[in-house]
């Protein structure tokens, strides 16, 4: 008697899902979810005025501010900063200024789809 239901399914590469939808954890950043394109304004830092109080580092929900211990300055992550501007609001030294994203040539993300 012939088997009339499909015996071996072929799933196209772009739709492949690991067994049980278990995926490896990211190591440094989740490159599959770039969020830099959420930004309408970016925080621009005045390193002279920065006191390294670390408020921006502490309060950023997207972990986009880090202290470069060697250079002794704060480093900003343009790929993922969503532009919430909590850092600007919480900066006691007033060293952060929001500037419209189109003022900058760089920081282009240009995704095919929003995710």
């Amino acid at each position: 008697m012939s088997k009339k239901y499909c015996e071996k399914f072929k799933i196209p590469k772009h739709l492949e899902v690991p067994m049980g939808a278990v995926i490896p954890a990211p190591v440094k950043e989740n490159r599959n979810m770039i969020t830099g394109n959420w930004r309408t304004e970016r925080p621009v830092i005045d390193h002279e005025a920065c006191t390294l109080c670390l408020n921006c580092f502490l309060f950023c929900p997207d972990a986009c501010w880090h202290l470069d211990e060697k250079e002794e300055r704060m480093v900003w992550n343009a790929d993922f900063c969503k532009g919430c501007l909590i850092c600007v609001n919480e900066c006691p030294a007033d060293c952060l200024t929001p500037v419209n994203e189109l003022e900058f040539k760089g920081g282009v993300v240009r995704l095919e789809k929003p995710f």
Partner: protein, 325 residues
């Protein structure tokens, strides 16, 4: 049966400078600009460190974080139903107890942390959470409180404050204040009936060092502990994304939120202002309260005044319930 399972000991952080630089809740998630719960997640992850397993019951912190087959967590993480985080965590903890005992897992017991929203903690998830607390599993249950079912489009939850405009409690002619009920007291639900619990605390994203230390203290306790973390939601509470921390701070300054610890029956309070500002100052920062009249705000003030007499300790509602009026 004797349990010779080794647990971890996490050091307290003394200042901002000592907050770990390492991130375990990594950039690249679909949470809102200025998301309070995301900030909570980041700080809790820093506190717990890499030797941890996190569980995410359905809610914003599941859907926004794992959208489309990717995830921002550097440690093992598992989705649970919104209903059963406490139970799945119990299963994982029990599994580690037996696997370590049998020598199948070499290492200390991982920190097992549930990151539940208000719905997944004290509404539909309450039964499983209570079951976990009662049975005494070595799990930290965190309720990141954004005061609504935010993922589904801001619907009322038992943590939603009186007077809030949500998509299930819209203000209208017949019900002018929007939400008419006062919220459940989450820490009291845990403290009030779970003898295995020795540590319950509230924390706020406005005070990250305090938050980190409370997480570490909770994890160092053997057995279950509960943290209730105030996590403002720009979308749901309708305030500008840059003001998440500002709003959280104002909540403490007006008495809308109280940071306290309950350790083996003793209460201690943190960040209490010398003088409380009127709740109106807090409420006017958020569009969800924009429709309220002075009479409604007075009702909220009365509720807060009564609660501040003994924060953390249950008090009778100073205002009539909706069925009594």
């Amino acid at each position: 049966m004797a349990k010779a399972v080794e647990t971890q000991n996490l050091e307290a952080v003394k200042s901002i400078r000592r907050v770990p630089q390492e991130e375990y809740y990594l950039p690249g998630h679909r949470t809102c600009q200025g998301c309070g719960p995301a900030l909570t997640y980041k700080l809790v992850s820093k506190a717990a460190g890499p030797d941890s397993i996190f569980l995410g019951p359905t809610g914003c912190m599941y859907v926004a974080n794992t959208s489309y087959l990717c995830s921002p967590w550097a440690y093992p993480w598992m989705h649970t139903q919104i209903t059963n985080a406490g139970a799945v965590a119990s299963g994982i903890e029990a599994a580690y107890q037996v696997l370590i005992r049998k020598g199948k897992y070499k290492g200390k017991l991982p920190n097992i942390v549930v990151m539940g929203g208000d719905g997944g903690s004290i509404d539909i998830g309450l039964q499983a959470m209570s079951g976990l607390m009662y049975r005494g599993h070595d799990v930290l249950f965190i309720m990141y409180d954004n005061e609504s079912y935010a993922n589904t489009g801001i619907q009322t939850s038992p943590a939603t404050p009186y007077g809030a405009n949500t998509t299930f409690t819209p203000p209208g002619e017949a019900i002018p204040e929007g939400k008419v009920l006062f919220p459940k007291d989450a820490p009291q639900l845990v403290i009030g009936g779970h003898p295995a619990v020795h540590y319950v605390a509230t924390a706020s994203v406005a005070y990250p060092v305090d938050l980190i230390n409370k997480v570490r203290k909770a994890l160092n306790y053997k057995g279950p502990s509960f943290l209730h973390i105030h996590s403002p939601c720009p979308k749901g509470w309708m305030f500008d994304a840059a003001k998440t921390v500002e709003v959280a701070k104002l909540a403490i300054e007006t008495g809308m939120w109280v940071n306290y610890e309950w350790e083996k029956g003793e209460y201690t309070y943190q960040h209490t202002p010398k003088e409380y500002k009127p709740v109106k100052e807090y409420m006017k920062t958020q569009q969800r309260f924009a429709h309220l009249t002075d009479a409604h705000i007075a009702k909220m003030q009365a509720f807060i005044d009564a609660r501040l007499k003994a924060p953390g300790i249950p008090v009778a509602l100073p205002v009539l319930g909706p069925r009594e009026e």
